[in-house]
């Protein structure tokens, strides 16, 4: 298990209390789970993804991660419509453990309210949250 100070928490992302991250990429937003989440869950063995075209509200469940330990729901950091899913995770769910930010983005959405990004935690605030 990583020490909190060893976590990789990139500064250009917004984080949720549920350990998802969101990254603005032009007009879309990519969503994944944090280094803390993958470290706590252990080996990810399966990812359930939504369909392109599905719409979700902020906080809605959009998929699940299966780790060796448990089944964990994934929640939307922002509301929007799914425009892409990372199909590489279907065959290689371990990418989430190996590279939770770049290779293992989970979905890409067209946000219905881009200002919701401002409500997410900055990296330093997220780390403070983890430290309790």
């Amino acid at each position: 298990m990583k020490e909190l100070d060893e976590l990789n928490l990139p500064g250009n992302l917004g984080y949720t209390d549920d350990h998802e991250w969101a990254q603005i990429t032009g007009k879309t937003v990519r969503i994944g789970v944090s280094d803390y989440a993958q470290d706590q869950l252990g080996d990810i063995v399966f990812v359930e993804l939504p369909a392109v075209g599905d719409s979700f509200g902020k906080g809605d469940e959009f998929g699940t991660l299966e780790s060796v330990k448990a089944v964990s729901e994934l929640y939307m950091p922002m509301s929007g419509e799914v425009v892409a899913v990372n199909t590489a995770l279907m065959d290689s769910p371990e990418l989430i453990n190996q590279d939770p930010y770049d290779a293992a983005w989970i979905i890409e959405i067209k946000p219905s309210d881009p200002s919701e990004y401002q409500q997410l935690h900055k990296a330093a605030a997220y780390l403070d949250l983890l430290k309790g």
Binding site: K2, D43, F46
Partner: protein, 428 residues
């Protein structure tokens, strides 16, 4: 450190390695190490893994009353339990069975080792040493009564499991050829304390006494090793060093759970417990008389067993992909139309198997038996359900957590081509 939690001698090692730790059976134990539970599971199928199992409890029984006491309390008939000819238990051999209460509920499962004519050792689950000792003492009524000791804090234990286990262990034993000679499944040699439990000596290269038991909880070839607690850290380091060529990994409880579930082995207090020990895959531990409908001996729980009905049934299952259902108050088993038929006892993922067409294939399956090349299994969910009716292998049922539904198949066996029973000479 929490006063109520116990620690094995290897605890500091686990923490220093960055293991993900959790409470289990009153001990803080590693769930997995940084290599991850999947790599740990797979190395036990293809190489070797090393498990800290010092949380297990160890009792000993001594004297002429020891065997009669075990005959009364333990499910196996020690007078007819070995091999196809059902010969008596003898020194150097051990058997797996359960301790039942009068209502035929399981108090715990155990391996009983016969060390000498009148000396026995019992290995039971973490935190079960005292309850089993109390149960035995309650029925310890012969004169003179059997002497009973709880050695849980005087014995350290680790398991080396996987097809490379003998080759690795052999490198740190004084006379490996002698130790491994005629070492069949469920036999053992040596003693962790030769003064207390005399035995033909088995020693590490530095003369540390060790008890080597050809048993385990993974379904794979390997050994359980017992030494005095003072030698645990040394033995652990010796094995990890000796096993480097085979890629040995320290393994945590997560892979131990997924390996044992795939092997069809029960977890006490989860798959077997305080309900009637009937209609389950482990009835081989009962002393069934083949010629009559009865038992070959009387024992605690026998009359309740004879009076019990055929259901509910505990059955193994395997899914069609790695997805699991988290067990909670809301999780249950239904038939395909959605009618509730039972509960989920264990649900984990065996990461060494996958379905090839309809057949389950393991990383250990020989190519000629159907393992494609290359084969990178995604894993299959598996475990045990307890349902209100007998179901034939091949029957499909649904597991649900109240939200998602998972179709799984009732199985006779889950992970094929397990190595636990392979002849010793083929594993050296």
């Amino acid at each position: 450190m929490d006063q109520n939690i116990k620690y094995t001698p290897l605890h500091d090692w686990h923490v220093a390695q960055g293991a993900n730790m959790a409470a289990f059976g009153g001990y803080e134990m590693p769930l997995w190490y940084p290599s991850g539970a999947k790599a740990e599971h797979l190395t036990v199928i293809t190489g070797a893994g090393l498990f800290d199992t010092s949380h297990m409890a160890v009792l000993t029984l001594h004297g002429p009353a020891a065997r009669p006491l075990l005959q009364r309390c333990f499910s196996k008939d020690l007078e007819c339990c070995l091999g196809p000819k059902k010969t008596p238990l003898l020194p150097g051999r051990c058997v797996y069975g359960v301790f039942l209460d009068a209502a035929a509920g399981v108090i715990d499962d155990a391996i009983v080792y016969q060390c000498n004519a009148e000396d026995y050792m019992l290995v039971v689950n973490a935190s079960m040493g005292a309850p089993i000792a109390a149960h035995l003492q309650q029925h310890n009524q012969e004169e003179p009564e059997a002497a009973l000791f709880d050695l849980s804090d005087r014995v350290g234990k680790m398991d080396i499991q996987g097809p490379a286990a003998a080759r690795i262990l052999g490198r740190i034993l004084k006379n490996p050829a002698q130790v491994f000679e005629k070492m069949v499944y469920f036999s053992f040699k040596g003693s962790f304390d030769p003064h207390f439990l005399p035995a033909e000596p088995v020693e590490l290269l530095d003369a540390t006494p060790v008890m080597v038991s050809r048993t385990g909880y993974t379904g794979e070839f390997g050994f359980e090793l017992f030494v005095a607690p003072a030698h645990i850290n040394k033995l652990w380091d010796m094995l990890l060093t000796a096993g480097q060529p085979e890629g040995i990994l320290p393994c945590g409880l997560a892979s131990r759970d997924s390996l044992r579930a795939g092997a069809g082995l029960p977890l006490s207090h989860q798959d077997i417990g305080p309900w009637t020990f009937a209609c389950n895959p482990w009835l081989f531990v009962l002393p069934r008389d083949e010629t009559t409908a009865g038992f070959t001996k009387d024992f605690i729980g026998a009359s309740a067993l004879q009076a019990s009905g055929g259901t509910p049934c505990t059955l193994p299952f395997a899914g069609f992909d790695p997805r699991k259902i988290t067990i909670s108050d809301k999780s249950l088993v239904t038939d395909l139309s959605g009618s509730p038929i039972g509960t989920i006892l264990t649900c984990t993922t065996d990461m060494a198997v996958d379905r090839v067409d309809t057949k389950i294939v393991s990383l250990a399956t020989p190519p000629e038996a159907g393992r494609p090349e290359p084969f990178t299994p995604r894993g299959l969910s598996c475990g045990f359900v307890r349902v209100d009716r007998p179901l034939d292998p091949g029957t499909e049922v649904l597991l649900t957590d109240g939200k998602r539904k998972l179709k799984v198949e009732i199985r006779a066996e889950i992970r094929p081509d397990r190595t636990a029973r392979k002849p010793m000479q083929t594993m050296l």
